[in-house]
Amino acid sequence: MPDSGALSEPRCCPVTLGHGDCFEVYLVAPQIGPEARRPGVDQGTQASWARLFALALVPGSILATGCLFSPDDSSEEAECLDATTELPHDGTFELEGTGQRIELGPIVAGVEGRTSGVLEWSQVGRSTDVTLTIEADAGERVTVFGDCDTYRGIDIPAHLELTSADGVLADRFGGHVSLDEAGRVIGSPVLDVPIVVSQLQSVLPAGFGTTPDTDWHLRITPELGPEEELPFVAATIVLTTGWTGSDPVQSVTLGVATFGGTR
């Protein structure tokens, strides 16, 4: 049983799954270096599901982490000022150096949409129709990233609603849609909302017991298309606990939704 390597002791026991898993949402910094530049971005070309963006619904607090700041080797253009700004949904982002204007309306509108599919409740082997709707938050301004000659991406406050025909799911998530300059998804789209377990009783095994003081969350992980495009093609639904002192993070797979198209 001797072993070698950084760990000095081989453990006979298989590693327990889930223990210590981190489900934090990491918002990946947009590719805002020189390689990501695409002069001449035309707003109208970004208005389709297929090319547009990406959904990165994250807790608002994540946005305050500073992850959007990223070093770029910009010594060659030190005079080009950062023009990151907040604008209304129908605003225009102007690249002063080139005179190009990027209309935000089509980009924001392109985020919105509805897709439907089938949700298989994996613990009980039952299925139901499911609908997923994305709607930009009209009450919040968007944040546009860029400088004098480059549009680098946009962060759009949005709501996502997931509804199942059997009535088990009717959840609305608040967050942000973050797109890079080419309209690709930025970050891992993970949705998390506190939930009362009794609401899920019909899709949990009969023997599923919980302690009264356990805070359960519903975590939904949508999957984008192969080119990181909307609409979502699938979503995994997991019931999970947060960190509570020394208690382990528990998680159980509740279901898998497969989306078949837009309407």
């Binding site: 006979c12 982490t65 950062d82 919980t210």
Partner: protein, 218 residues
Amino acid sequence: MSRRSGWLLGLTLAPLTQGCLTMLLPENDPATDPLPTCDNTPLMLAPGQAVEGQDPEALFARYLGSWSGTLTWMAGGETTFELGASRGAQPAYAGLSCNVPTSVYTSPEMTVVTGDGAFDQTGLGHLSVGLDGGPRAGGEDDQSPLTPCGLPQRDWTSALPARLPVDSARYTAPLLSIELEYPPHAVAPVSAMVTFSGEHEAVPDSHDFLVVATVAFE
């Protein structure tokens, strides 16, 4: 704000952020900043062999024994719980850290029995003790020197699946584990947690993990 000032702001914020630090730090250059090499290969001990003047068997003996308690299933119900750990015939090893012995460990024989028949197993565990006599556990916050090996489904009793919070038939390679909890400096567990883990058949690479039961030792 210029690009440069933005970059500087990013650096300033870096220590305050989560998950972002790595993108801001330059990578180590092995050519100019070599890391020391350590040999951590464990050393199998011959019977009676001492480690840094310590008798491994004496270090092990403090943490061996049998304990009784009450197991409470999360799905409801209680039963008696018996845990035993004996030295067995497995060899002892010295754990090294950069060539220096820091601990001894072995695989004791362990038994787990519950009054309702859900557990009735004998197998191996892992016992690790620091040369100072304290637990030499897996992590900084892990105070458990003794860990029963996980129980794969093939080792389960027929009464066990009915006690689980999920249908184990829907899982690939489900595993039950018992994690003993020790207060600081204690040589006997005060509680334990029985957990279920596995990959749901419908979601490859999923990692479901649930507390199945808790144990309070007398």
